[in-house]
Amino acid sequence: MILTQTTAFLVDAYRELNARKMFWITLGLSLLVVAIMGCFGVNDKGLTFLGWTFNNDILNARLIPPEKFYIFVFANLGVPIWLTWAATVLALISTASIFPDFIQGGAIELTLCRPIGRVRLFFTKFACGLLFVALQVFVFSLACFIVIGIRGKSWVPDLFLAVPIVLLFFTYLFSFCVLVGLVTRSTLASILFTCLFWLALFVLNTTDGIFVSQRAAKEIAVERAERTIEVRTRGAERMRQRLIDAGQPLPAKDAWPEGAQSELEAISLPLLNARKELAEASESRDNWVKYSGWVFLAKTVLPKTSETIALLDRAILTDKDRELFSPPGADDEPAPGDEEAGSGRRRGPQMGDPAVTRRAEKIIRQRSQWWITGTSAAFAGVLLAIGAWIFARRDF
């Protein structure tokens, strides 16, 4: 009987989707996006679009193989921008009404009077709501699979990982949307509050990105200061030896400059300054580690939308592939003392510097998949458990 009931729900969900214009509009737009993606390409000179070539020194087949180009576009533009922003908004608009309509007076009685438990009913209906996104992502992935296969001459079945990943991402939002819909019985409120929730997650994620970048910048600053101290220490030792060899007196302790902790620092102002810089950078780094730790903690209990989508990037692009698309100079680590060269202006590592970006990405990528998916799914699970509890106890 469970199978019969579940099948009835799935068939009904399909009929409902079939009747919704938004489903077909979104599907059509998805295919249009894939078609546009297929119109682009790379050759030895640069980027191509429908036969036209736009010369480019970075995007060309000499540096980026065509199949990698398409996979990169899929993983970094198609999924994160189209599927997880534009298509998700359309999906939310389409599915937000599912629960408010479902619990409407006159409709809910027809379902609750069947030999099916309320909790199972709730979760089955929820799963049916996900069907919208599952079908959209599957069709999009399939179209991309075919386009990349034909245009890039590479058949990459891993593209279909987008289906579970985007579905998981949508589950976070949809579980919130369902809970709001259940409490308020309003489609409009569901959409509005879900968008606000999504915005809050976006802000938190952006804050996390900024804090992690700051932390990375300060870590690099500390490392550079430590390397500078090594160089300066060797220089100071050589100077001290020269003074001894020349028979000149070393400065007495009471004559050491302010802040000097050793004889070497007393005779080498650059070493003393480097020590001060290290102390400042260390303190700053510790602060940013603390701040980013707080954000990390907040993120632990909330769904991680961006990081969930980034799992696709992790899955289908290797580090080597990513290097193809890294901005030039990403590996440039200034040598000790570089800051003093040229203009003589001292400039520490900043957000946006390739090295900082690279370090920040590394920190974020070190976060385990289980932390990303497990804690996020747990959040959705808690919301759904609350929703199921309300649904099971409410008098309709």
Binding site: A8, D12, R15, D101, G105, G106, A107, R114, I116
Partner: protein, 353 residues
């Protein structure tokens, strides 16, 4: 259909069903009700009496505060029993993207009816409710009456032993009402129990074997129409008299100790209650202009009054035994006997402690 038929003649046997909503509104205050298997049972009551709440409790849509009793031999709220029950809610809303056929298919599926059985049942059911020609049209294009017909069909798609229909004739034209009555009769002939919840007393009167009247969350009365009207039947004598003459004549004929006094709530009606007096063979005596009503079913009790008219040479315009209609019963149940006014609609507020 059912393999585990309950060893009881009752399809519904409620001994105490109560529901108090948030805000201390007592929708049901201890319902005692029995519905025989194989009968057509009517539940009536004014707005807010708790009829729909009771039906929703039986269908597990609402959780009762207390529910002692059984439905088809199983405790109230047993989900598995719902396989044997069909239900048409009041103001039901089908998904408007479905066709009539798909509605039956979907709800049949939810009721656990295997696909082949559904396929075999859908066409005969659509034919039964007169919707076969519209089976493939979407529900959004249906009229109210057509939706009601499809609603009845979906309530039967699981071949239930008990069918609960909440306002089944709501929005249905006279032809449709007749068809629905015929469906109820047919279900009864097939041995199924039909539970009707309706405001249309004349409809219920035509089709129901037994009825219950719900007032302010309590069963005011229940039984067959004969049982319910037994004490309310009367003879009506209409004489060719002016109202003042009639009052004088009939008052003089009344046994000593009986006095006609204005009936509460009805200025034109005089009434004398005889219960407990030496004239208890007359349940009541009531005079409305020239019409005298005598609360008895025995012609011999009426004879002295007819003889009095004859002896005075007064023409007798009409003499007839009267059985109250369901509407009379209903009105009596919802009328406050002390004030003669209708009881206020709605459920009762819980008494403050």
């Amino acid at each position: 259909m059912s393999t585990a038929a309950a060893p009881t003649p009752w399809a519904i046997d409620l001994t105490h069903v109560a529901k108090t909503y948030k805000g201390k509104v007592q929708a049901l205050r201890g319902i005692e009700m029995r519905v025989r298997a194989g009968e057509v049972f009517g539940l009536l009551g004014p707005n807010g009496a708790g009829k729909s709440t009771l039906v929703k409790i039986l269908m597990t849509v609402i959780a009762p505060t207390r529910a002692d009793g059984a439905v088809l031999g199983k405790p109230v709220g047993d989900k598995d029993t719902l396989r044997r029950i069909g239900y048409l809610p009041e103001h039901h809303r089908f998904p408007d993207y479905l066709t009539g056929r798909q509605v039956l298919d979907f709800y049949g599926g939810l009721a656990g009816v295997p696909r082949r059985e559904r396929a075999a049942r859908i066409d005969p059911l659509l034919e039964l409710v007169g919707m076969k020609d519209w089976a493939n049209q979407r529900v959004r294009g249906y009229s109210k009456g057509m939706r009601q017909r499809v609603g009845i069909a979906q309530a039967l798609v699981n071949n239930p032993d008990l069918v609960l229909l909440d306002e089944p004739t709501d929005g249905v034209d006279p032809v449709g009402r007749r068809d629905i009555r015929q469906v109820c009769q047919r279900l009864k002939d097939e041995g199924k129990t039909v539970f009707l919840n309706s405001h249309l007393l004349s409809e219920l009167e035509l089709v129901c074997d037994r009825v219950a009247i719900l007032v302010q969350g309590l069963v005011a009365s229940q039984g067959t129409l004969d049982e319910l009207t037994r004490d309310r039947r009367y003879y009506e004598i209409d004489a060719a008299l002016e109202p003042a003459q009639a009052r004088e004549l009939w008052a003089s004929l009344l046994p000593a100790g009986l006095a006609l006094t204005p009936k509460p709530g009805s200025a034109d009606v005089l009434r004398a209650e005889t219960a407990g007096a030496s004239h208890a063979h007359l349940g009541f005596v009531e005079l409305e202009r020239s019409i005298l009503r005598l609360g008895t079913t025995e012609a011999s009790h009426v004879q002295p009054f007819v003889d009095a008219l004859r002896s005075r040479g007064i023409a007798l315009r009409a003499l007839r035994p009267v059985r109250p209609t369901l509407e009379d019963l209903f009105m009596a149940a919802v009328t406050d006997p002390t004030t003669g006014k209708a009881l206020p609609p709605g459920a009762a507020k819980e008494a403050s402690r």
